[in-house]
């Protein structure tokens, strides 16, 4: 049955049919017809203060909930402001649906006011870019967009809608089945490959698992845990995989890679089989790839066939959903082997930890707190299901090392694009998705200032989060590289202690607290959990602080610098 309505109304109907409850956006000339529909819609519109944040919030919403996040921007600058957020979501396989207004159809291509070729701009950073050319096709486009964004390897999709398509009336058919003949993602593993993988695993003496964000996306955490425990197999994750495996588990190695743990980066050199699940062998995880896991045969499970062999040479590819694959491998392993209660190999974890225990604890004297202590304290203060987002820079790497994630979808970071300014809006989006749990952003003073204006969104829209600003008054990771690799020629990294984050928070009507001790930090976090406004915690740390261990860019994991 069809219903007559205009394009804008059809967009709203389509969103409702997809179960969308919230959208993040800013109105503009080309989206006014849509905002007229939002005026009395049951969909909640969350007014943001920069479109980049609308995209990051939709992304954070998606990462926290597993449901697609939706953002809206007007034509021209509104749409181009989404680019960084959409690119971030694309690199990290997050299902974001971005709706952009466009100039009217007769004006397209004439460079009128606020026209940008957003389909052209977004094509390389989305799974698909739609442009609605008539009102009647809106139901079909929206169905396809959500289907593409959320199935196979999730990714952002953009829908560009000219203003006159929003105002045109048409008979809308919301029951059209989705048919996309060029898109049939394979999710079922090939039985032969599963059998081979099982064979490799049960015959291996030193198996290790490397788990990436794909395992979280497919909900494979229980299967990862079961397999690891059955085979006594140590589990490392990529930065994106944090939370897929409880990091307090005895078999957990933590993060592998540039700022990975000592045990993860050492053990991977000794493994004889590496089962990689939903991880794309990014350079930040592997270091120099030809010396990545020199003695291991690699099994690579990924739903995206183009990831097989793109970065690493693999011995056994399995193109399928991670959860389905591990479920089948687990069943076969169970038949072949009784659960291992003990393993000499797994004991290597504690051996390595003891062997490489840092001799000095890198304590820097002064009126500073140590990031390691702060994040350990943060973990203690937050409940296990709390969600943490990070910015990018030293804060991201310290988060990776010192904040153990316990559950999937509780840790989010811009792993692929490395977007400074991601954490705070992503935390806001996550809080919208999960108002029942505390949400915190591990920030640096450099990153936070990139999207701090959305403190206004947090206050106006009643989305309270906790921002932990590890404040060293410099761009810390830049300072670290200049200290280590550029002979301390510090260039363009001095932030000079500006702004005053307490006053900044105050200006927006949020709480700002500067803390002087770990005990004070702990009590402020505990108070902030119950607060109905956002709390910005200014934590003074030393500008001389480094993140170690570190594998220098382009080096092999074995060339890790410890202190």
């Amino acid at each position: 049955m069809t219903k007559k309505m205009n394009g804008a109304k059809a967009i709203e109907e389509s969103l409702k049919k997809q179960g969308v409850k919230e959208v993040f956006g800013i109105p503009g000339g080309s989206t006014l017809p849509l905002y007229d529909v939002f005026y009395d819609s049951e969909i909640r519109h969350i007014l943001v203060h920069h479109e980049q944040c609308a995209a990051h919030m939709a992304d954070g919403y998606a990462r926290a909930s597993g449901k697609p996040g939706v953002c809206v921007a007007t034509s021209g600058p509104g749409a181009t402001n989404l680019v960084t957020g959409v690119a971030t979501a694309y690199m990290d396989s997050s299902p974001v649906v971005a709706i952009t207004g466009q100039v009217t159809r007769p004006m397209i291509g004439r460079d009128g006011f606020q026209e940008a070729d957003i389909v052209g701009i977004m094509t390389p950073i989305t799974k698909y870019a739609f442009q609605a050319r008539s009102a009647a096709e809106i139901p079909d486009i929206f169905k396809k967009a959500f289907h593409i964004a959320t199935t196979g390897r999730p990714a952002p999709v953009i829908i560009d809608v000219p203003k006159d398509v929003m105002t045109d009336e048409a008979e809308m058919d919301f029951d059209v089945p989705v048919v996309i003949r060029g898109y049939n993602p394979n999710i079922d593993p090939h039985p032969v490959q599963v059998k081979r993988a099982t064979e490799m695993l049960v015959n291996s003496e030193r198996p290790m698992m490397l788990v990436g964000g794909g395992a979280i996306l497919s909900g494979a955490s229980p299967e990862v845990l079961a397999l690891a425990e059955h085979l006594q197999m140590p589990v490392g994750t990529s930065l994106m995989g944090k939370g897929a495996f409880p990091e307090t588990h005895p078999l957990s190695l933590g993060v592998v890679g540039m700022h990975g743990t000592i045990e993860a980066n050492k053990l991977i050199l000794e493994a004889d089989v590496l089962l990689t699940v939903g991880c794309r062998f990014s350079d930040r995880t592997t270091g120099k790839i030809d010396q990545f896991c020199p003695d291991a045969k690699i099994i690579h499970v990924d739903v995206d066939s183009a990831e097989i062999g793109k970065n690493a040479k693999v011995d056994l590819p399995i193109v399928a959903d991670a959860k389905k694959t591990l479920t089948q491998i687990n069943a076969q392993v169970l038949e072949r082997l009784a659960k291992r209660m003990d393993s000499i190999w797994a004991k290597r974890i504690t051996e390595i930890r003891d062997q490489f225990k840092p001799k000095n604890d890198n304590h820097i004297e002064g009126p500073y707190l140590r990031p390691k202590d702060v994040l350990t304290e943060l973990r203690k203060a937050l409940p296990p299901n709390a969600i943490v987002a990070t910015e990018v820079g030293q804060n991201q790497s310290w988060g990776g090392l010192y904040y153990p994630a316990l559950l999937p979808r509780t840790y989010m970071t811009s792993g692929g694009l490395g977007t400074m300014g991601f954490g705070f809006p992503a935390a806001l989006g996550a809080k919208v998705a999960r108002p029942d749990v505390p949400v915190a952003d591990i920030a640096g003073d450099g990153s936070f200032t990139m999207t701090e204006q959305d403190l206004a969104t947090s206050v106006n829209e009643h989305i309270p989060v906790i921002v932990v600003v590890l404040n060293n008054s410099v761009l810390g990771m830049i300072a670290q590289w200049q200290r280590l690799f550029y002979n301390r020629r510090y260039s363009g990294m001095d932030l000079k202690g500006v702004p005053d984050f307490v006053k900044l928070a105050d200006a927006y009507g949020a709480d700002g607290v500067r803390i002087g001790s770990l005990a004070e930090f702990s009590s402020v976090v505990r108070k902030a959990i119950g607060s109905d406004v956002t709390t910005v915690i200014d934590v003074p740390i030393s500008p001389e602080e480094n993140v170690f261990p570190m594998v220098p860019s382009g080096s092999a994991l074995k060339e890790m610098i410890l202190e």
């Binding site: 389909v119 390389p124 870019a129 003949r181 062999g309 793109k310």
Partner: protein, 178 residues
């Protein structure tokens, strides 16, 4: 080439490959495909697009040079594009590969004219336009044949050349279908 890519790629041997794709016949698809090549740093030697037996689809024939790793990635990345329905690499020994060129040759005198007409005959080309001091010749064949014709006629003075890029079909009963 960095050590990283060397390890993945093994012994790199660059060869020409012909890839045929069925794509949705709608605006923006050519951009989608061409953009993927640019963004992934693959080089297109030629690309030709035309209608097929189904009006809502089109066929792209892409000539691309690369080592084994590159071609595998090209095919996978093409498959990943939503509007690309089917991708096949054609085996050049088991496919008919054709390109057409229009060549405008300067013919200064009747000797030159006679010689060009002879070459055209040998290459089974056709003269499709005659002017007092020039001829347009249509030549069809594989790219090597067209290169050879152009080389032979170059010394007369080539005024203009237009080549279509290759188009191709697998021999025998095989067909690329949805």
């Amino acid at each position: 080439m960095t050590a990283t890519t060397q390890q993945v790629r093994g012994q790199a041997q660059v060869q020409s490959h012909v890839i045929a794709c069925l794509v949705e016949n709608k605006p923006g698809v050519l951009y989608e495909v061409a953009n993927m090549f640019r963004r992934r740093n693959f080089n297109i030697d030629s690309i030709s697009v035309g209608a097929v037996e189904q009006s809502d689809m089109a066929r792209m024939t892409i000539a691309v040079k690369g080592d084994e790793w590159t071609i595998e990635q090209v095919i996978k990345q093409l498959n990943k594009l939503i509007d690309v329905v089917k991708v096949n690499e054609l085996d050049s020994h088991d496919a008919v590969i054709r390109e057409m060129a229009l060549v405008k040759v300067h013919t200064a005198d009747s000797n030159a004219r006679t010689e060009v007409i002879q070459y055209t005959g040998i290459f089974r080309g056709q003269i499709i336009d005659v002017a007092p001091d020039s001829l347009i010749i249509e030549v069809t064949g594989d790219s090597d044949k067209i290169d050879a014709f152009i080389e032979l006629t170059r010394h007369f003075g080539l005024k203009e050349i237009a080549r279509t890029g290759i188009t191709a079909l697998a021999r025998g009963g095989k067909a690329i279908r949805e």
